[in-house]
């Protein structure tokens, strides 16, 4: 069901891991069948542009990514990045609220937006002849929003309802928030993207205007266009629209408070009457592709795939298939972050098995990798799955646009994406052992438990 409306999609965890896996996938996109390569250039005002041609269908995906997310918010203003994303759908001097949406709907297009810790993106999918119109509206709202208390009030109520819908009504989501707040002790990734309720309630017009003026400018934005267009057309249209927006003040480097060394095993527990079966996850800080030493992100990606990436993974085969002690179990790596990412394992018992057995069995699988590495066959199969995912991903222009936007907004480059398959091919078992030993230490982890309420209520 579509829970979309100015959606904030917190691209996290599994989703992110998938995006990444599918993403750098695009490496081969540079040699697309049509023979058209990906283009990457700057407008005079500093706006970055990426064009990903795909002429199979008369459709184009137009996205603008701003290099600002919840981790850039001022202290005490949690949720402003996402709240502001909603406000971008209000009116400007030239176009009253709803006009842009009506224009898109009129041509059968779709639109939405999402906010993460590190970026905020707006997109429309339309026919190619409407691309210039999309750019015109998008460039207009980059600087010309009219923010009045009359639009701020009801929209704040909307995001409060969004928080209730997504977080407050879900024990899993509440626990996930607390795990992040515990895993990150100093970095703003500890704060939920949607914001803490008590701070969201106080967000006001002045906060919104300050945020807008600071971050919404062409030199802090990336235009990604994927689909049935060529680079020259995009350049011409972009120069006539975005190109007319004045460059904003130079933004300082995105230096957020970093994590101290972590040497404690922490536990977060949520008991809730809605829960029947206990489950757990264990999280570690792990470098993102952006912060890792060369090759480390790729090693962590493959490690998560071999340990717990699917039904052929070690954890799934050992716990779910062979021992039959878990109903679900696996691992994922979130490496698409500007700053430190994370690595997670999870599981839930099945039948008479106890949660502790599941945890111990997963720990044993990690220990086995650290001790003996992985087999050549396992490594080869995992690499092939990654490389295959990039070919499958070429089937979706919106996936491609997301891959490039995410990478460029989190410190990556087009070359990083193009070189990803080669770097994946080079990873060895020894690299995985090193990464596992270095980052998956129990003495620096957060274990989250989701448990039935005690005493059990019905």
């Amino acid at each position: 069901m579509k829970l979309n409306t100015n959606t904030r999609r917190v691209l996290r965890g599994v989703v992110l891991a998938l995006v990444l896996a599918a993403g750098p996938a695009f490496a081969d996109a540079g040699k697309k069948p049509a023979g058209e390569e990906i283009s990457h250039f700057l407008l005079g005002n500093g706006m970055e542009v990426v064009v990903i041609p795909d002429h199979r269908a008369p459709i184009v995906t137009h996205m603008v990514w701003y290099k600002v997310g919840s981790a850039d918010e001022p202290p005490g203003k949690s949720g402003i990045a996402h709240f502001f994303e909603h406000l971008m759908f209000k009116g400007t001097e030239k176009h009253k609220a709803g006009e842009f949406g009506a224009k898109i709907a009129e041509i059968g297009g779709s639109e939405n937006a999402f906010t993460s810790d590190d970026f905020t993106a707006y997109f429309q999918t339309v026919s190619p002849d409407a691309l210039g119109t999309m750019m015109d509206y998008e460039a207009d709202r980059m600087r010309n929003l009219i923010l009045t208390d009359a639009v701020i009030g009801p929209e704040r109520d909307v995001v409060l309802e969004e928080r209730r819908s997504r977080i407050e009504t879900s024990p899993d989501a509440l626990l996930a928030e607390e795990i992040d707040a515990t895993l990150y002790q100093n970095h703003p990734y500890r704060i939920p993207v949607i914001g803490w309720m008590h701070e969201m309630e106080k967000l006001n017009r002045a906060d919104a205007v300050a945020f807008y003026d600071r971050y919404y400018a062409p030199n802090n934005a990336i235009l990604v266009v994927a689909g049935d267009v060529d680079a020259n057309t995009v350049r011409t249209l972009a120069e006539a629209t975005y190109g007319k927006v004045a460059r904003g003040p130079d933004l300082p480097p995105r230096l957020r408070p970093q994590e101290p060394e972590q040497n404690t095993a922490r536990t977060v527990t949520l008991s809730d009457p809605r829960v029947t079966t206990p489950s757990f996850s264990k999280s570690w800080l792990a470098p993102s592709y952006n912060t890792a030493e060369p090759g480390e992100g790729e090693a962590l990606d493959l490690l998560s795939e071999i340990l717990g990436g699917g039904v052929r993974s070690r954890i799934y085969q050992a716990l779910v298939v062979k021992a039959g002690i878990a109903s679900t179990a696996g691992a994922y790596y979130d490496g698409t972050k500007l700053d430190t990412g994370s690595f997670v394992v999870y599981g839930a018992p099945r039948g008479d098995a106890k949660l502790e057995e599941v945890q111990a069995a997963i720990d044993a699988e990690i220990a086995a990798v650290v001790k003996d590495g992985v087999t050549e066959e396992e490594l080869e199969a995992a690499k092939n799955r990654f490389l295959r995912s990039m070919i499958f991903a070429q089937d979706s222009q919106s996936s491609m646009a997301n891959i490039y936007g995410t990478a460029l907004a989190t410190g990556g480059t087009v070359d990083d994406i193009l070189g990803w398959p080669d770097r994946i091919r080079k990873v060895t078992s020894a690299d995985l052992v090193k990464a596992a030993a270095k980052y998956l230490r129990s003495s620096g982890s957060v274990t989250g438990y989701l448990l039935p309420a005690e005493p059990v209520q019905n």
Binding site: A57, D157, V158, T328
Partner: protein, 446 residues
């Protein structure tokens, strides 16, 4: 959040239906769908395209949850989990290893009215992949160990959501709407019904449902018609000619009732079920356009404006048509602050009432037509998987291979009188209402 009138393939046009071909223009759509019939008489719709070296296939048999024998609910779900768990001479492990090495992904599933399969494979390993798919379709093993494991996983899911208020409320809602019709039954079954299922039950279901007379196939990608013909015979040529399905009656959801599920939650979720129209109804597009104006648009609908934009009562408010094979409906769905749930319900009823009384304006109808016409290709041309899904659904709903050429004219021809009539027909009824949330009107919560 759940979707109501149960779990479904809902609303036709804008979201799911749709299609067009690679060469289609979003509006006019010259569609390059090739009907391909094999020597054994198996037909598939093919869109041939070599720009990405992959092949996607989707197929379905009539069946689904409605064909689960009474007392064995969950059978079709369990079966769907077992096709890649051993087939022919290959046990579960061997099958999955070969599939992975062959560069393919395969999935099966069941919904209310069909059992379906999906596979995508790299073009250069398609022969191996199709061989494995043939084994899965024709000779699933239903070995004891995978049966027990997949059953235990489904049971674990049922147990895990036992105390979840939304799950419980949806169960109650389905029973209230559908009474003793198969649509009222839990589609994944219960612990008891799953425990009653044997390997023989699975084989019997497979034999009864996996037959050529209800088979529909859609293929997209790097494969030509001649090669596909041979593959079709390999894949499906040895299946029985005719299916053996238990009869299913059509059912009108029971409206004019309130179903409450009291639970102390930070929000109250609301669903309102009205009558719908079957996909085959001549007034389908009139109803579809009316629904789009009422609550079908993402940021542009009367419900969106009144509930969210003007009053900030909810993050999501939407309406959609449900077109199952044996039942139809129109559902409005939202979640709101519990202390304003009554107000939200009043606003929704008011919007619905106005639509029933006056219908849309000419301008609204014109805009809705443009959207519904234009969005068709847009929402369905973006991936091979979406195109295959569309081609399959067109076949399941008997809309014809020239549907895309006819569609624009059919939508354009809808008059405002027809849309007003559709509004009266659907929205004058007293709806069934589901309310999940705190019992009384509680104190406002922060």
């Amino acid at each position: 959040m759940t979707d109501c009138l149960g779990k479904t393939r809902v609303f036709a046009a804008a979201l799911f239906l749709a299609a067009a071909t690679f060469l289609a223009s979003p509006v006019g759509a010259e569609v390059a769908i090739q009907p391909v019939t094999s020597s054994k008489g198996i037909t598939a719709w093919l869109v041939e395209d070599y720009s990405v070296p992959i092949v996607t296939i989707r197929f379905s048999f009539q069946g689904g949850h409605t064909q689960d024998p009474p007392g064995k609910e969950g059978l079709s779900e369990l079966m769907s989990g077992l096709f890649d768990e051993g087939a022919g001479d290959l046990d579960s492990d061997a099958f999955q290893t070969q599939l992975d090495e062959g560069g393919a992904e395969m999935r099966f599933g069941a919904d209310r009215d069909t059992v379906y399969g999906w596979m995508r494979t790299l073009a250069d390993t398609k022969d191996e992949a199709f061989d494995l798919l043939r084994l899965a379709v024709e000779q699933p093993r239903f070995d004891a160990a995978p049966i027990d494991r997949i059953r235990a996983q489904i049971v674990a899911g049922i147990v895990a959501s036992e105390r979840d208020p939304d799950t419980a409320a949806q169960r109650r809602w389905q029973v209230a709407l559908y009474g003793d019709h198969p649509y009222a039954r839990p589609e994944v079954g219960t612990e008891a019904s799953l425990a009653a299922i044997t390997a023989d039950d699975l084989r019997a279901y497979h034999k009864a449902v996996f037959a050529r007379d209800t088979l529909k196939v859609a293929v997209v990608g790097a494969i030509d018609a001649e090669t596909l013909k041979r593959k079709l015979d390999d894949l499906f040529g040895n299946l029985p000619e005719t299916s053996n399905l238990r009869p299913v009656e059509t059912v009108a959801p029971k409206l004019s009732q309130e179903v409450r599920f009291d639970y102390d939650l930070p929000q109250t979720s609301l669903q309102l079920a009205y009558p719908g129209v079957p996909r085959s109804d001549p007034e389908f597009f009139a109803a579809h356009l009316m629904n789009h104006i009422l609550g079908g648009g993402t940021f542009t609908s009367r419900l969106f404006d009144e509930v969210r934009e003007k009053r900030g009562l909810a993050y999501s408010v939407t309406s959609y048509l449900v077109t199952n094979k044996y039942s139809s409906g129109l559902v409005v769905s939202t979640a709101t602050r519990s202390d304003r749930a009554g107000e939200t319900l009043d606003v929704i009823r008011d919007v619905v009432h106005k639509m029933a009384e006056d219908g849309p304006t000419e301008a609204e109808l014109a805009a809705a037509k443009k959207y519904v016409i234009g969005a068709y290709a847009m929402n369905n041309l973006d991936t091979s998987g979406a195109i295959a899904t569309t081609l399959l659904q067109l076949q399941e709903e008997n809309l014809g291979i020239d549907y895309m050429q006819k569609r624009v004219a059919q939508i354009d021809a809808v008059t405002i009188e027809q849309v007003r009539a559709a509004a009266r027909r659907l929205l004058n009824a007293e709806p069934a209402v589901l309310v999940v949330g705190p019992p009384a009107t509680p104190e406002p919560k922060g």
